[in-house]
């Protein structure tokens, strides 16, 4: 397979996953921000959202102080934000279009139709800013698009290197997203969680779960109220939770091994991914909290970034 094709597939999947993540953050933040301040409607909600989306710096460069309406617009529509939903869908499609022949017709049609839908909303928004109902519909659309692309790829693509590279993109992005949202939320909430248990925390913590679509999963696994350390456990160490760091790394290792087997050669990407996976497998929550959650997550985000680089070096560049 062409290196460029693998690169496009990897990024196609990454952008679709990111579009989904940004839509989820925007959705939960919108819910939180609409709560009365006593129940968790903190003023810095949108700042946290921008930060989790990795968009705080570009936002501040453009707008300065954080304002809810501007933040929504920046996360969803702004062309100057490389990770805005419209940019993610646009870049996802550009990557998909460059490798149409490596995608199934179903997957291509899904992304192409979603892109057309997005363009329509974008034009509409440019003429007259969307109202809340339309914004929610757009976020739902973005999440559904990611789901449909994922599902059509899963159902129709040959299990060969094209599929594996796209899956790698998806899981590297997902691991990054989960780690980021956990990090940001913990940072904001920690000073106030010394007295854990108020309704304020409840909504805040619930919002993280919602952002990674894990509200129901949480209750199935723990059968108790929402507790910060259990949320961290769920999102870091629970292999049955599909967005947990450990689950992502299980998949990354699996797909990198599939590639190595097919090509008959292991490399730095495989080695590094296995190291990170092993680290997660041997970790306990107690240990994570002793080192400090923020330190743990920062190191993870760094590792994950470097594994992305190792994959690029080994396969995507010449």
């Amino acid at each position: 397979m062409l290196s460029r094709t693998a690169d496009n597939l990897f990024w196609f999947a990454r952008y679709m996953e990111r579009a989904d993540f940004i839509a989820r953050i925007a959705n939960t933040t919108r819910r939180l921000a609409s709560l009365p301040s006593g129940d968790g409607g903190a003023a810095n909600e949108w700042e946290a959202a921008l930060s989790a989306a990795g968009a705080l710096e570009p936002y501040e460069a453009v707008h300065g102080a954080v304002d809810p309406d501007k933040a929504v617009d920046f996360l969803l529509f702004d062309a100057r934000n490389p990770s805005s939903i419209v940019n993610c869908i646009e870049s996802g499609r550009v990557n998909a279009r460059a490798v149409r022949t490596a995608l199934t017709i179903e997957t291509w049609e899904t992304i192409n139709a979603g892109w057309q839908e997005m363009k329509k909303v974008q034009r509409q928004h440019a003429q007259k800013p969307l109202d809340t109902e339309e914004l929610v519909a757009f976020l739902d659309m973005a999440m559904k698009l990611a789901l449909d692309v994922d599902g059509s790829a899963y159902r129709t693509m040959l299990r060969n290197d094209a599929y594996w590279f796209s899956r790698l993109g998806l899981y590297v992005e997902r691991a990054d997203n989960t780690a980021r949202i956990l990090d940001v939320k913990y940072n904001i909430l920690l000073p106030e969680t010394e007295a854990v248990g108020g309704s304020l925390d409840y909504f805040q913590w619930n919002a993280i779960l919602r952002a990674v679509s894990a509200v129901t999963s949480y209750h199935w696994i723990y059968r108790e109220g929402v507790k910060p350390w259990l949320i961290a456990d769920l999102l870091i160490l629970r292999p049955e939770m599909p967005r947990s760091l450990i689950a992502c790394y299980g998949e990354i290792v699996r797909f990198l091994d599939a590639i190595a087997n097919a090509y008959g050669r292991q490399g730095a990407a495989q080695r590094r991914a296995r190291q990170t996976y092993t680290k997660l497998q041997n970790a306990t929550m107690k240990q994570v909290f002793t080192t400090g959650l923020h330190e743990f997550l920062t190191e993870f985000i760094e590792d994950n970034y470097e594994i992305g680089g190792a994959i690029a070096e080994q396969y995507l560049l010449d």
Binding site: L2, R4, R97
Partner: protein, 478 residues
């Protein structure tokens, strides 16, 4: 050319339906307007979903537009097709012999049949190719020959496309859509298949691989990239051929061979079906500012270690000045009379012709010798006085750059619109493949239709649309 009524391919001047269109006419009669409207809508949805789009240069908003598709098929009988096919094979065979001669010993120039200045002063002539034979002496592996009808009997060639002709994906996708849209009509008509075009193309490309490639040559399609107007077609063809779609940056030259960069290292490439113009192929040999090509590609090509399809330098043969000599060229190389006619053409380089053309501009179509896509031409009968005057100045300034033709009364076919059904002018681009094992044409081609009433310009860049083209067995006399 007078006010002779246009030749309609479905209906005779007396109002009778021609036998070959009988089923189509029945279908149109039995389909209420709402049904046709819903078919048109369905077709548009199908095209949009597959993402068949093309870009119109200079049109900022419509970076990706659908070419309008007309749901009424254009029909040719088997006997009409057979005659056309023979003519196409004859013409493309002559084109290949002509190019081999031009880059070889130049017999046709020595014989004084084609003036040598229109060859050597042509920017598309590539001195790099002189004296360097190509595999099996085939230069034009893929040709698109634009033909039109003006009456029941004759096909005229409007233009030979010997560089990187496009449109074949539309031929194939139009067929696909029609089979889904009107399965009953399709089955009843027993339409000759075109679906095996990619098979033929693959066989053709394999057959011209360099000897050093061995038994299983690696073929690729080379595209300028996804912002090219024909990108959809490039990816479509790569997919159907089952080969990689590469851009210049995916290829590199090392030690006299071309390689592509893959996830498993470098892989040698033997045949490049390139959809990139000569100028952009290799910045070391041609335009140094081009980032689309592959540095060093020409040196590998000249050493015979990679085959380019079409060959470099074919543009010299599809030039509009050379076009005027095609009947003589065909006679020279095949010893036969041309089966397909040339449109009578005035070469403005000849003073008498120029005088005639200047006197008759309102009746004529004047084209630039090197223009394409309907740009830079004058359609006399549709031009204003001012436009004609301005064009006359251009013409006088550089007569050798122009040819002129009468406005042909192109045949019409019925087309379906929201307002009803009406005749529209059409042309046809069949695709001719030349490989080591001979010349092949799949029965059909791309019918382009001028959707604006009365318009004669069918180019997609100028608002033209397309139709499926059906070759069906001659109807038995009833």
């Amino acid at each position: 050319m007078g006010q002779k009524p246009f030749f309609d391919e479905m209906t005779t001047a007396g109002g009778d339906i021609r036998a070959v269109y009988r089923r189509i006419a029945q279908w149109l009669e039995q389909s209420p307007p709402e049904l046709l409207a819903s078919r048109r809508h369905q077709a548009e949805l199908m095209f949009r979903r597959i993402g068949i789009t093309f870009a119109v240069y200079g049109d900022q908003d419509a970076t990706e537009r659908l070419i309008p598709f007309d749901i009424i098929p254009r029909v040719l009988s088997r006997s009409e097709w057979t005659r056309l096919e023979k003519g196409l094979i004859q013409r493309v065979t002559a084109l290949n012999a002509f190019l081999a001669d031009l880059y070889g010993t130049g017999e046709i120039l020595k014989a004084g049949i084609v003036p040598s200045d229109i060859i050597y002063r042509n920017p598309a002539y590539r001195p790099e190719m002189a004296g360097r034979p190509v595999p099996h002496n085939i230069y034009v592996h893929i040709a698109g020959i634009d033909v039109v009808r003006v009456d029941e009997n004759d096909f005229y060639v409007l233009e030979d496309n010997a560089r990187t002709p496009s449109g074949v994906s539309y031929m194939l996708e139009n067929r696909e859509v029609m089979m889904r849209l009107v399965p009953d009509l399709f089955a009843a008509c027993r339409v000759a298949p075109v679906e095996n075009y990619p098979e033929h193309l693959r066989a053709c490309l394999r057959s011209v691989a360099p000897l050093s490639a061995g038994g299983d040559p690696t073929i690729v399609v080379l595209t300028p990239g996804q912002y090219n107007s024909a990108y959809y077609e490039h990816s479509f063809l790569a997919d159907k051929l089952g080969v990689e779609l590469v851009e210049g940056r995916d290829l590199l030259v090392r030690d006299g061979f071309v390689y592509m960069r893959t996830t498993q290292g470098r892989k040698r490439v033997d045949v490049i079906y390139r959809r990139l113009d000569d100028d952009f192929l290799d910045p070391l040999a041609f335009r140094p500012d081009s980032a689309l090509g592959v540095p060093g590609l020409m040196s590998v090509y000249q050493a015979g270690n990679v085959t380019l399809a079409n060959a470099v330098g074919t543009g010299v043969a599809d030039d509009k000045a050379v076009y005027t000599y095609m009947p003589e060229i065909i006679r020279f190389y095949t010893g036969e009379e041309p089966i397909l006619k040339n449109v009578p053409t005035w070469r403005c380089r000849e003073p008498e012709a120029l005088k005639y053309v200047l006197d008759h501009l309102p009746e004529l179509v004047v084209k630039e010798v090197n223009g394409s896509g309907g740009y830079g031409m004058l359609v006399g009968p549709h031009a204003s006085k001012d436009e004609i005057a301005t064009f006359a100045q251009k013409l006088k300034a550089d007569p050798a750059n122009f040819i002129a033709q009468p406005t042909l009364s192109l045949s019409t076919c019925p087309a379906s619109f929201a307002q009803g059904i009406g005749p529209r002018h059409v042309d046809l681009r069949p695709f001719v493949l030349s490989g080591a094992d001979g010349v092949r044409v799949v029965p059909g081609g791309l019918t382009r239709v001028a959707l604006k009433e009365g318009s004669l310009v069918v180019n997609s860049s100028q608002g033209g649309g397309t139709k499926d083209t059906w070759v069906i067995d001659d109807p038995q006399a009833v």
